[in-house]
Symmetry: C2
């Protein structure tokens, strides 16, 4: 059997590795139009910010590493057509057109940054952040042009990570966001405000500044005589800037799936629970597919490396015909980012999301701490719980703090996926030692506060 | 109504605070034979090690703070008798004997270090570690006598914490343990060995040394002409030591419960699920009670501050007649300690414990890391999973690492208490960002490894 995988991101390469791990006979070829494979796109901002030494460091494997495992990688190879009836794929390498046959095809085509049609958006110095090449281009442009001021369009996770990392290398950054909050997808407005205050308080130092401008679109990018960015219009104001980062969302790459005849949902490719599309022997994984939301049961997107890897393990184990192979589960879209010292994480439904889905919720934000209050170095932790009114189940959690945030969200991911009620959480067992936690865990306290709020509202 | 609480540890004071939080009318008096209240006994080693400035810092409240909440605290007041028929308690303060009436009595009498009858154990310089007074006595003795070498008898959590903290202030420490491993209650031998290797590798520096001597009892404590410790016999060898710390276990304080006529189990006071003893209107919470083991359903002990606080909240909310007040749940005995940089944590059943309870298990130890492998500062994490053979449910987890360990154990506490199977865990959703986690979470990887081991054993 021959398996063809299109895409060398987390989804594509994990699919290939998983098949090989459980089956040494299947032929595996992975195609990518990129020059680099097996790098971590999530790490790009941290290389820019010099938290990670260089781009080479975030490339985890070379094609030769896969060749040793008998997985063929074809780089710089752009797939231009798929014929699902004949089970063939046509790709272009340099100027050569090749055809390749498959028994099973896995689409791991990922997503592409959405760039809104703003005037001047094609000027020199306007960048997106998706591939390692994007990262290298940004770094080169900064070094060559002595960039001092940058505008970041879009205050989602990638935009905020880029903004902070640029500030870390001494660049003044303005983040422009159309909606009235930062992290519009990951956080509710009240939690986003906590992060914003934290970042704005850091601006009192002599270092570079990170300015956040909300409820305004980028109006126009202004270029100089050489066609290079020199300013950005935001409302009535013109901001000086030698570079613009467009972090204005990502769209699933569905063109190839469409060529294969796969059914497309509202945004991306539809699959069953073993990631097979509507076309027999064509599978899809990662940012190019739709998934089921664990809370609403509706279709949604889950553009996270972790989801890609889980799906790739599902498809890999199923293609390798592993006994009791797993199936893809509905998602909570657990997510985390680190902005400077701050961990910002969430899982499940937000309050905003609940409103949009007509789910009545009770929410609380509890400020607590990461260590016993007398133990030096403890930091505040803010926890927001979102609890469904009809059955008191916890359906969402967001957390912010300088330490011990990420794994608490993972704990809540488990709790939510197992249907834990807030009363259960307010009587759950946590571990404790003064240097690492409080005797009443922040999650326990958050749950207890929510139980009390529910009682009060019911009185 | 008048509630009398005996004991001002976490159990007793949380009981008082919880009742007061939900009811402003109930009269509350708390008695203790100690001089200090509301301090954290878990913090004593860290004060000795100067990680925390002084003992004053770990005292969180004074009796006056409780007086403001209309909770009366009687310090230096030793309860000498209980008459449950007449609902009276007799206590001694200075030389005065007083009687006090109650409507409900809460025993939060805690535990007392068990000191084995070793020759020389009453010498000057032999200490236990339980109360803040013990801690202050140890610190004074070190300062007055220029202690350079210490023997710690018992390699449980308290012994190991004390040993490490003494080393941190420049004292050579030998820990003597009868069984063939450190952390005999919290860890399996294979995980304990990882901690031991880590600690022994630290000994290569010029600093004070921490030596671990296993499978040997403390034979005799040798005193000089002034009756002060000068050495300890361990097997054939005599170790020089100016101080001995006895961390050889704790026994529940049940004498007062016996006076009240409460039924006692194998080790401690028996209660129902709202913490009421066999005697009407007499409750018991904290280290003096037995609890139910969540895995075996058998009686066990749970001498942890977290358990004490949960139980105190249960009894407090029930005495305050809170609607839908919680009940006490079986325990997993989640626990964590920090030894130097190392977090050492566990929850649920150990492999050793499973063997003693005739539960067939499959176990794995997975070495993973705390951050993406290219992100600077990542540290190894070791995770041991203990999975029941008949239904593949995870029943225990132990973890060791320099960061991001504690909350993973809390996540596993939730997972185990909700009956998660190892297959479910190997398909569970975790959050990811390079500075804070790996794209395949250490727990996910541990679960996947265990699933594979199960498959292989079934072949």
């Amino acid at each position: 059997m021959k398996v063809l995988v299109i895409g060398t991101g987390a989804a594509g390469l994990t699919t290939a590795s998983t098949i090989r791990k459980y089956n040494s006979d299947i032929e595996i070829t992975v195609l990518t139009q990129e020059n680099y494979i097996a790098y971590s796109p999530c790490a790009i901002p941290y290389v820019i910010g010099k938290e990670i030494k260089d781009f080479k460091t975030i490339v985890m494997h070379e094609p030769e590493d896969y060749a040793k495992k008998n997985v063929e990688i074809l780089i710089n190879s752009e797939v231009v057509d798929i014929n699902a009836d004949e089970k063939t794929v046509v790709y272009k390498k340099a100027d050569e057109i090749n055809e390749i046959k498959y028994d099973k095809l896995v689409l791991a085509t990922g997503g592409t940054p959405f760039i809104p049609p703003i005037e001047g958006v094609n000027s020199k110095g306007v960048f997106k952040v998706r591939t390692i090449q994007d990262g290298m281009d940004i770094q080169n442009y900064i070094n060559k042009n002595g960039v001092k001021k940058v505008v970041v369009a879009g205050a989602g996770a990638i935009g905020m990570e880029m903004a902070y990392c640029l500030k870390e290398i001494g660049i003044d950054v303005s983040v422009i966001e159309m909606v009235p909050q930062i992290f519009p997808r990951a956080l509710d407005p009240d939690m986003a405000k906590i992060v914003q205050n934290y970042l704005e308080e850091e601006n009192t130092s002599e270092d570079a500044k990170l300015n956040i401008i909300l409820e305004k679109p980028v109006g126009k990018i202004i270029a100089d005589d050489n066609g290079a960015v020199c300013g950005v219009m935001v409302g009535e104001e013109t901001l000086e800037a030698q570079m613009v980062i467009m972090s204005t969302g990502v769209r699933s790459n569905i063109a190839l799936a469409q060529k294969a005849g796969c059914k497309i949902g509202r945004w991306a490719v539809l699959t069953d629970e073993i990631m097979e599309t509507s076309v027999a022997d064509v599978y899809a994984v990662g940012d190019c597919v739709e998934v089921v939301d664990a809370i609403t049961g509706e279709q949604t997107l889950s553009p996270f490396g972790t989801t890609a890897v889980r799906q790739a393990k599902v498809v890999g184990k199923n293609i390798a015909k592993l006994e009791n192979a797993p199936v893809s589960k509905p998602v909570l879209n657990s997510n985390v980012t680190k902005i400077g010292k701050l961990e910002i994480a969430g899982t499940g439904m937000s309050e905003i999301g609940a409103g949009m889905n007509n789910i009545e919720v009770i929410t609380t934000i509890t400020k607590s701490a990461s260590r016993a209050r007398y133990y030096p170095g403890g930091k505040p932790i803010y926890i927001k719980l979102i609890v469904k009114k009809d059955d008191n189940r916890v359906i969402g959690c967001q957390a912010i703090g300088e330490e011990r945030v990420t794994e608490r969200i993972d704990a809540m991911s488990i709790a939510i996926s197992k249907g834990v009620t807030v009363e259960e959480l307010a009587n759950m067992e946590f571990s404790y030692a003064p240097p690492v936690s409080m005797v009443v865990d922040p999650l326990f306290l958050a749950a207890e506060n929510t139980v009390e709020k529910i009682k009060k509202e019911n009185q």
